[in-house]
């Protein structure tokens, strides 16, 4: 059981940071900035984007046309991240995002992927039986809604813009954002009131 390399993690990290600075690859300030950006990236950012798209048609159109630039306009930095595409759900078409090859995920706007997103079971079943899979989340689409599975295989990252639930007329962006869960932006669930 002792084949694993045993190291003092703190010492290793300090040495790595020292080398990054000494070799001019990344300054301590740049490392700190990157850590702060990563920690701010949570599903709450995605929910904020969704709520704004639900209440501002111009923003929604720009978001669907150019996700990267539009999200950066909200102060969410995507520098160094892959381009972001946003897929709009409609009453006729529902999107479900998966990465069958690994775990590509729009981390800049949703943070770390949930554990199930990286599981072999989710990755295999999303493409083979998407309706059966999302039914296990309690998501049952109307017969007339087509499902489109988006396999995130290469250089883009994809986020779903869910349908705004009925009964939310007049809600503020903050109220709407509080409805949106990470699964809604992957497509395994849909937002609902109450």
């Amino acid at each position: 059981m002792s084949t694993l390399l045993e190291t003092d993690g703190e010492a290793l990290l300090a040495a790595l940071r020292g080398l990054l600075a000494a070799k001019g690859l990344a300054t301590p300030a740049e490392v700190a900035e990157r850590i702060a950006i990563t920690e701010r990236a949570t599903p709450a950012q995605g929910a904020r984007i969704v709520a704004k798209a639900w209440t501002d048609p111009g923003f929604r159109a720009r978001l669907l046309a150019d996700g990267t630039a539009t999200v950066e306009g909200l102060g969410i930095p995507l520098r160094g991240a892959p381009p972001l595409g946003v897929l709009e759900n409609t009453p006729e078409l529902h999107h479900l995002v998966v990465c069958t090859l690994c775990s590509c995920y729009p981390r800049a706007v949703l943070g770390y992927p949930p554990f199930w997103y990286k599981s072999a079971g989710y990755r295999a079943r999303a493409v083979r039986d998407p309706r059966g899979l999302i039914a296990e989340w309690g998501t049952v689409l109307p017969e007339t809604t087509r499902i489109r599975v988006v396999d995130s295989t290469a250089d883009y990252r994809w986020m779903v813009l869910p349908l705004r639930p009925a009964g939310t007329d007049g809600w503020t962006e903050e109220q709407l954002a509080a409805l949106v869960r990470e699964g809604d932006m992957v497509g395994v669930t849909v937002p609902a009131t109450g």
Partner: protein
């Protein structure tokens, strides 16, 4: 080769992993299958070379849609899959 939206394409029925170490962004389940170009997503350094730190030429990346019925024997008509594929895996069908 520039593939316009709507163009019918077939993915190469090629299995480089049977010939040696490689890094491929084309899933097994679409190889040899017919799809349709939805949009050109841009151009990126070829990940098949990038993964091995080789000089990587820029290749066009397309969003290609496949009917579920083209991929699975019990596929549901109307449902489909959207996959990012590089130009060198596609031929007009």
């Amino acid at each position: 080769m520039d593939l316009a939206p709507g163009t019918a394409v077939r993915v190469h029925d090629d299995w480089p992993e049977s010939r040696g170490p490689c890094h491929i962004r084309t899933p097994h389940y679409v190889r040899g299958r017919r799809g349709r170009i939805v949009r050109r997503l841009g151009a990126f350094p070829n990940p098949e070379d990038l993964a091995f730190a080789r000089p990587a030429a820029t290749r066009a990346l397309y969003h290609v849609v496949f009917n579920e019925t083209e991929l699975w024997p019990d596929g549901r008509a109307g449902d489909d899959l959207l996959v990012e594929l590089y130009e060198h895996w596609l031929d007009p069908a």
